[in-house]
């Protein structure tokens, strides 16, 4: 059953119950009170009529019927002690005879229904001037039945109007209630069709509004995950393509030179040059395999970081790497603030070596390694005056096998794995590599390592 129908049914049920009950209680209570009041009035009329009859008997008036007519209470009858009627002015259709009384002091009453009228009949015994009689007085109480019928008619109108208004209002409210749920259903279906950008308007602070907000958050998370998975899949494809290419290129050279040496008679000099090429490509393949191995190894998170003095660490590393730089025509400078940082010595050295190697490959002549303590972080940066990175490439430089200048990289035996490796090592240290580069002027790579200010050495 639709929610609309459920709400409609429930509201109608509750409204009907409330209206019926309140209407019944109102009319029943009003009728009961009116009947009680009329019965009391009938008893008063009986007493008044009794006084009139008694007065007449005391003063010896014979025409009792005339006396009662004067009192304007003519719907009465008087019977002698043996049941013979003295006079009767009861309405036509009244049952003949005298109802039985339990005792002379008892006055009884009941309701008599004659034709379309109702009478409260009161009767009792009367003793006066040595006579014993029975007096019956009938009071017309049809008015209260007519009032009751009028009340029921009025209530019927109220009942119908209220229920109609209730149903109309319920329809509108149910439609308003169901509308956002329908929107949610449509958005879900749209999302199931692959439209992950589907969102709901977050209106109101009620449960449905909260559901919309929650749905939007879920849709956002799904969309992000899908984007992430797409990027990951694309990167994997690129990785495989790059790896294939990186393997194929040196292998082609190796196979080509080897085939040439096998099939042709070559001079000693040519053989040496071919062998040299084979060795170079072999070394490149070896370097490639080592770095790939490192990347695989770095996917494990079971590294133990040790607290070390940053300035000593950076100076020590710079000293170790300085000959390599000098050999490749670059000057390496290092300056560092004193602080304790938590690092894995070998990994951190690999990180710096890769960054410096990258700077050298970018044609830098001056490389500056810095360590600065700012707030709760220790900023380690490697700045160079190389060719720089085009803005469009900055986002992808940490992807495996991604190279900015392919020809230069090839000459330098690069495979595009250095920065990927460095990025992974930075992540192991709880940091990320941030690149700031200007084409033709140089690049600065910075990372922020956690550092306690209290631990800073004076």
């Amino acid at each position: 059953m639709r929610l609309f129908a459920k709400v409609f049914l429930c509201t109608t049920l509750v409204s009907t119950l409330a209206l019926s009950l309140s209407g019944y209680l109102l009319i029943a209570s009003s009728y009961s009170d009116a009947l009680k009041r009329e019965t009391e009035r009938a008893l008063d009329e009986y007493q008044y009529t009794k006084f009139s009859v008694q007065s007449a008997l005391i003063t010896g008036v014979d025409n009792l019927e005339h006396t009662l007519a004067l009192t304007q209470h003519a719907q009465a009858a008087l019977f002698t002690g043996d049941g013979a009627p003295v006079f009767s002015a009861l309405p036509p259709g009244f049952p003949p005879g005298i109802p039985a009384l339990a005792s002379p002091d008892e006055v009884r009453y009941h309701i008599e229904h004659i034709d379309r009228s109702r009478y409260a009949v009161v009767y009792g015994q009367l003793h006066q001037a040595g006579k014993e009689m029975t007096l019956v007085v009938a009071s017309d109480i049809s008015a209260i039945s007519q009032q009751r019928a009028a009340m029921i008619r009025s209530f019927a109108r109220v009942y119908l109007l209220t229920l109609a208004a209730s149903m109309l209002l319920t329809s509108v409210l149910a439609a308003l209630l169901v509308q956002p749920i329908k929107g949610l259903t449509r958005a879900s279906e749209w999302m199931a069709d692959g439209h992950y950008q589907a969102r709901l308007p977050a209106a109101g602070g009620d449960e449905i509004g909260e559901l919309s907000v929650s749905f939007n958050a879920m849709a956002h998370a799904v969309q992000s995950k899908i984007d992430q998975l797409s990027t990951s899949a694309r990167q994997r494809e690129d990785f495989i393509a790059s790896l294939t290419h990186e393997l194929k290129t040196p292998l082609t050279s190796v196979i080509g030179y080897a085939d040439m040496m096998y099939q042709k008679d070559m001079s000693r000099e040519d053989v040496r040059r071919a062998a040299r090429c084979i060795v170079d490509e072999g070394l490149r393949l070896e370097a490639l395999s080592v770095k790939l191995m490192d990347l695989v190894v770095l996917n494990h998170d079971d590294f133990v970081l040790e607290e070390m003095l940053a300035d000593e660490l950076l100076h020590d590393m710079a000293e170790t790497l300085e000959p390599m730089c000098r050999q490749r025509g670059a000057e390496l400078r290092a300056c560092a603030d004193a602080a304790y940082i938590r690092v894995d010595y070998d990994l951190f050295k690999t990180l710096l070596a890769n960054l410096i190697d990258n700077s050298i490959k970018a044609g830098s002549t001056l490389i500056q390694v810095s360590g600065k303590r700012r707030g709760g972080h220790y900023h380690v940066s490697v700045a160079d005056n190389g060719g720089g990175i085009p803005p469009a490439d900055i986002e992808r430089v940490t992807e495996a096998f991604y190279v900015v200048d392919k020809s230069r990289s090839r000459q330098a035996h690069g495979a595009g794995l250095g920065l990927a490796l460095a990025s992974r090592i930075a992540a192991i240290h709880g940091a990320a590599l941030e690149f700031a580069s200007e084409e033709g002027r140089g690049t600065c790579v910075e990372m922020r390592l956690p550092c306690d200010e209290e631990d800073a050495r004076e």
């Binding site: 109608t12 019944y24 029943a28 008063d44 009139s52 007449a56 003063t59 009453y109 009792g124």
Partner: protein
């Protein structure tokens, strides 16, 4: 049409059935209640005082009430909004024969004192009516009377007999205290114009009526053309007499209520 749509349509149809069913049920319950109420019968036991053949009933020795009690009773009779109901005489109250006898006795005293003409006593009334009334206790009366606070019913002296004598010349309506049998109000109306209902001046009639009631310690008197009023018992009650063409009224009143504070003889009406 899908199953859900069929169920929804059935739900809406059921709603209308529920509405109609609610109406039918309400009507059935109302009819049942009416049948139950109309078929019920009841009885009331009337506790009346023993009938006395002559003289006043037990406790009603003719002695007047104290002035302060008289003032309270009159205030209760005059209380606005308090309905009067006829009832059987109870212990300490006059029965009908005694009330009529007391009324006739009182009128004889009035005739002797000159309040009403002697010829009036010679006419035998064609019609006589006597009715005993009790007033519903109002909050004001209950506050004033400690006994009625407990009983939730006014004491017997708060009831009154209205006795009417009527012939072709004069209609006399008397209001008697149900315990003492004293006439506390008398309204006389002559059917013929020019009929003198008293030979006394209003101020003299006041004194004569006060003497009948045994009131003393006279206070200030107000006299106008058609009425006179005087305080008695150190201002506890007023006696007011109004004389008019074909009309004479003598009454006990609350202090300070003069001409305009009229009493109304109440009969049960529809």
């Amino acid at each position: 049409m899908s199953r859900v749509r069929v169920q929804s349509a059935a739900g809406v149809a059921l709603s209308f059935l529920v509405a109609l069913g609610g109406w039918a049920l309400t009507n059935a319950m109302l009819d049942w209640q009416e049948a139950f109420l109309l078929s019920s019968a009841g009885s009331v036991r009337v506790e009346s005082a023993p009938q006395a053949e002559t003289g006043l009933a037990g406790g009603a020795d003719g002695a007047g009430l104290a002035a302060d009690v008289m003032a309270r009773v009159v205030a209760a009779w005059n209380a606005p909004g308090a309905a009067a109901r006829p009832h059987e005489p109870t212990e300490g109250q006059l029965n009908m024969e005694q009330a009529i006898a007391a009324a006739k006795d009182g009128l004889s005293r009035f005739a002797v004192d000159g309040i009403i003409p002697q010829w009036l006593m010679g006419d035998e009334p064609a019609r006589t009516g006597a009715y005993l009334w009790e007033k519903e206790p109002t909050d004001r009366v209950i506050r004033q009377d400690s006994q009625s606070k407990i009983a939730a019913k006014l004491p017997p002296e708060y009831s009154y007999w209205t006795v009417t004598f009527d012939n072709n010349r004069v209609n006399v309506q008397l209001m008697l205290n149900a315990v003492t049998g004293e006439i506390w109000r008398a309204d006389l109306f002559a059917y013929e114009a020019g009929t003198a209902l008293t030979e006394l001046e209003a101020s003299d009639a006041v004194k004569a009526f006060a003497a009948y009631l045994g009131l003393g310690r006279e206070g200030p008197v107000w006299v106008a053309d058609t009425w006179a009023s005087q305080q008695f018992e150190a201002g506890a009650v007023d006696i007011v007499v109004t004389k008019g063409d074909r009309q004479l009224t003598l009454r006990v009143s609350e202090p300070g209520l003069h001409e305009n504070a009229g009493w109304i003889l109440v009969k049960p009406g529809r």
